[in-house]
């Protein structure tokens, strides 16, 4: 399995943000996307997840999963993807259990059980608490459980460790390593080292300022 991204381009708010970004990541590999604030890391991840349209006649064919194992057939990329963005996609008024079960139901539930997943992020015992009562770091860890409870090969992670303390960071590094060993692919945008063994890296530089439509 191989995620191939070939010469993609993305505009935002009428401005060119990414131009001709290409890479490929195979099963079991991770790609770390780095770059200054505002360079376009989050933009790239959202485009990969299909949450932003590509610019200039690029079609979704420019982002593809090649050499798929038989089981995956021709499922659209979106259904093989987990996206962990800045927002955690949880409702403060619902309990942790209600939140996570909802996402398991909707995203497909062949991953870890709720208890198991909470155990993996070392948060057992919170399932009946309203999500809104948790601290920033705890919220992020609950959000990581979503990745564990629905099995999907491609993980797109936008600053996944923001708000995590040191111990949770290490825990999360192990979780990612497991995902890679199981044949998954990880693309992560981050300023901080993630503790992965020899990931690929991609540095994004802000574009020169002359590529908008109204120059």
């Amino acid at each position: 399995m191989k995620l191939v991204c070939d010469h993609i381009a993305v505009d935002r708010g009428g401005e060119a943000i990414l131009r001709d970004v290409s890479f490929s990541v195979s099963s079991g590999e991770a790609l770390i996307v780095s770059g200054a604030n505002g360079a376009g890391k989050s933009t790239l991840l959202r485009a990969l997840a299909g949450l932003l349209p590509l610019a200039e006649g690029r079609t979704s064919n420019h982002i593809r999963l090649e050499e798929r194992p038989a089981g995956l057939g021709y499922l659209p990329l979106a259904e093989l993807t987990h996206y962990l963005g800045h927002e955690n996609a949880m409702k403060p008024a619902l309990t942790v259990e209600e939140n996570l079960n909802f996402w398991r139901d909707e995203l497909g539930g062949d991953g870890a059980e709720l208890d198991e997943a909470l155990d993996l992020v070392e948060l057992d015992g919170v399932q009946n608490l309203p999500y809104g009562h948790l601290s920033t770091g705890q919220r992020r860890r609950v959000s990581i459980c979503r990745l564990l409870m629905s099995e999907r090969p491609l993980w797109l992670l936008d600053e996944p460790t923001s708000g995590l303390d040191k111990a949770s960071e290490n825990r999360f590094a192990e979780i990612m390593q497991d995902q890679l060993e199981a044949g998954g692919i990880i693309v992560a945008a981050t300023h901080l080292p993630l503790g992965l063994n020899s990931p690929q890296t991609l540095e994004i530089k802000p574009l020169a300022l002359d590529s908008g439509a109204f120059d």
Binding site: P92, H133, S135, G137
Partner: protein, 269 residues
């Protein structure tokens, strides 16, 4: 730095010896008291209702209104309690704003659904009475309308409380809203004097004494007393539930934080 976080000894002793308002009626003491009071309050309520209802049905029929006059014994206490509950909320709101007492907020919040229920009952009984008396369920006269506005105010306050997720943050804004809405109470009371209304003017609490005959007045007063005790009982119960609800919140918060702690220092887990 040495100059900081140092407690001046004189200051701390004066602080410890000063009795705090929250010691006088803290939630724990309130719960203790409520548990002991509630059986008696319910007993008195039951007795008053038994006597009041019996006397209401024993009362003679009105020469104009016939048997429908008996609706009065429900209608009038309901509307009185509807307005009384709002006055309870007003005093609780003052408690929130002036003394910042957490129980005051609980009292205000607990009174709102009760007040709304009594208002609704007053509207329903009034409508049912209005059908034979006025030939219509509803007219837009000043008394009836201002009373309907009271229901909107109650429901609006309840919506405000629901919308704010954190009860402690909702306390002061809703207290202000309660005080602002209080202007409606005198309007209800004096609407019959200020405007031409289909609704009849005051016959009990009026300058110059009641005009109602004692055959009606005595059962009415007993029913009013019964409704008051019913309100007291329900208010205590709802306040108790609200306190428990907030305790659960606090416990959940603690559990959440404890989960974080067990995580950061594994040796304490």
């Amino acid at each position: 730095m040495s100059s900081m976080s140092e407690t001046a000894p004189t200051l701390s002793t004066t602080k410890a010896s000063r009795p705090r308002l929250s010691d006088l009626a803290n939630p724990t003491r309130f719960l203790w008291l409520a548990e002991r009071l509630l059986p008696f309050v319910w007993l008195i309520t039951a007795i008053l209702f038994a006597v009041g209802l019996w006397m209401s049905f024993a009362a003679p029929e009105d020469y104009q209104q016939g048997r429908t006059v008996r609706i009065m014994f429900i209608h009038v206490p309901s509307v009185w309690l509807a307005m009384f509950a709002y006055m309870v909320m007003v005093s609780a709101a003052l408690g929130v704003l002036v003394w910042r007492h957490p129980l005051a907020d609980v009292a205000a919040r607990a009174a709102a659904p009760l007040g709304a229920a009594f208002t609704f009952l007053g509207l329903v009984t009034g409508s049912i009475w209005g059908r034979p008396m006025w030939g219509t369920w509803w007219v837009w006269d000043a008394r009836l309308t201002s009373f309907l506005v009271l229901l909107i105010i109650y429901l609006g306050l309840m919506a405000l409380w629901r919308a704010m997720e954190e009860p402690a943050d909702a306390a002061r804004p809703s207290a202000i809203m309660i005080l602002v809405g209080a202007i409606n109470i005198p309007i209800i009371k004096f609407s019959v004097d200020w405007w031409n209304t289909l609704h009849q003017p005051a016959s009990v609490f009026r300058a110059g004494g009641p005009t109602m005959t004692s055959e009606f007045l005595i059962p009415l007063m007993i029913m009013a007393l019964a409704f008051s005790f019913l309100f007291l009982a329900l208010h205590l119960m709802v306040m108790r539930n609200e306190i428990y609800r907030r305790r659960i919140r606090t416990l959940q918060r603690k559990a959440a934080r404890a989960a974080g702690r067990a995580k950061t220092n594994p040796e304490t887990a």
